[in-house]
């Protein structure tokens, strides 16, 4: 039991990663009403691109941290503009099938190009070191993940609540047609949101590489937890995504410590309880 602080820190690191993946997912769902099944595939693509950039091209982790989100931003913008926007008129089913198909295509392309086996991304320098915290020697990298998530969450909250763009985004979540009739170029805003969410997912992928290793199943693995986060937190709620990520991070971490046999089931249990008690999620608005 003396390991509790370590498991707590592990939980924070995983919560940070989960938040980075689910923040984009919940934003896209809130704004566009699209449950993006390709989201985790983009996270995986980010991780593999970072492998190429770090291990084969530049040797620089920071380079991948900047380049991968940019590449995925462009990919996200293109997907929204030329695919998602076209199937929008066929309703939810069309959008669901499209993102589902994209997830498969990206996964298969990744296997074809990078191979169907795990690849290790090694970090060097300051981030690969350790520090002593609560009397334990702890890897700096895991703390770095949590700090990245705090930074991204803070910037997103500032934009959402303190800027004109934020007012437009929150208005579009409520009623995008009304926002359009007030003179806001909503299609452009939606493209930006989708691109930003995809970029964020790629950013999370870069960060996940050195922590969890890069393998073709990594998308499936995080997708389920990310879906649980946005259901528990409430669809479209950034605050909800923060709280639910922290909850599920700790649940996963302590689950392994306390009841290893049931640890996989714990997140579903949490989701079931939230759905029974408050179906719209902890921070979701009642419809």
């Amino acid at each position: 039991m003396s390991d509790i602080p370590v498991f707590f820190l592990h939980g924070l690191a995983y919560a940070g990663l989960l938040f980075l993946v689910s923040a984009g997912l919940t934003l896209i769902f809130g704004m566009m009403n699209v449950l993006n099944f390709a989201h985790a595939a983009m996270y995986m693509l980010g991780a593999y691109l970072s492998y190429t950039i770090i291990m084969q091209l530049t040797g620089q982790f920071w380079m991948a941290l900047i380049l991968c989100p940019l590449i995925l931003f462009v990919i996200g913008a293109l997907i929204e503009r030329f695919l998602l926007r076209r199937v929008h008129k066929y309703g939810h089913l069309g959008e669901l099938l499209l993102t589902f198909g994209l997830a498969y295509i990206v996964t298969e392309l990744v296997k074809w190009y990078w191979g169907n086996y795990p690849l290790a991304v090694n970090i060097t320098g300051f981030l690969s070191g350790t520090i002593t915290i609560f009397g334990f020697i702890y890897p700096i990298y895991r703390i770095f993940i949590f700090l990245c998530a705090v930074l991204v969450g803070g910037v997103m909250a500032l934009i959402l609540y303190k800027t004109r763009l934020g007012i437009i985004l929150r208005a579009s979540v409520n009623d995008s047609e009304m926002t359009n009739t007030l003179g806001v170029n909503v299609p452009l805003v939606l493209m930006g949101v989708f691109a930003f969410g995809t970029a964020l997912s790629g950013f999370a992928g870069v960060i996940a590489g050195p922590l969890l290793s890069t393998f073709p199943g990594m998308a499936q693995e995080i997708l389920i937890d990310a879906f649980v986060v946005i259901v528990v937190g409430g669809f479209g709620s950034l605050g909800g995504a923060i709280v639910a990520s922290l909850l599920i991070g700790q649940l996963q971490s302590f689950g392994v410590l306390l009841i290893p046999k049931l640890s996989v089931a714990l997140v579903y249990l949490l989701m079931a309880i939230v759905l029974v008690v408050k179906p719209s999620g902890l921070f979701g608005e009642e419809q």
Partner: protein
Amino acid sequence: MLEIRDIHSYYGKSHILHGVSLDLKEGELVCLLGRNGVGKSTTLKSIMGVVKPEQGSIRFHDRELVGLAPYEIARLGVGYVPEDRRIFRSLTVHENLLMGIKNGKKENIGEGGWTVERVYKLFPRLEERKNNKGSHLSGGEQQMLTVVRTLMGNPRVILVDEPTEGLAPLIVKDVLDMLATVRKSGVTVLMVEQNFKAAIKVADRYYIMSKGQIVFAGNTEELLAAEEIRKNYLEV
């Protein structure tokens, strides 16, 4: 200023508007009357580009509106106040008003233009509640807020859909007075209304719709004289 010629609009496969034509002149308050489901709201949505007319033309100050996106039509100076109010629930009253300002800029607001300060001066009740969530307002207050939110964009014409629906009689008068004030400030108004007794107090001209077509056009005297038409198309 606004000329609508023979527009045909569809909701999915159902043909709603069968060749609607109507005109608005600068500074008028025109009322579009008719029973439920005859295409009044669809007419406003077609002007705004929310529903895309398959045929026909809508010209606004010599610009063709058919084929433009709602935000482009809004930027040309057409304001839209939908039915059911559609306040942004999770935004405060103040933020709702800011949403109405086009591109967030204060340009093009000459003498008599609408600003947040002016709205608060005119409707102190909204200022008292500026930091409340939009969803916490009463029905009448929400209706006022939707109208002034659209006015913040300083449109040259506003399309108002059933502004008095579901409001208590005393509030109905407030809302109609407000629209009269808006017209006085130089904004042209096209209003959809079911309640012709309320409309007659404020409007200059009327169109009556039935089954997706215009069946009557005239001023107040002509409408009062046309007893047969009122009986057939308005009174239940």
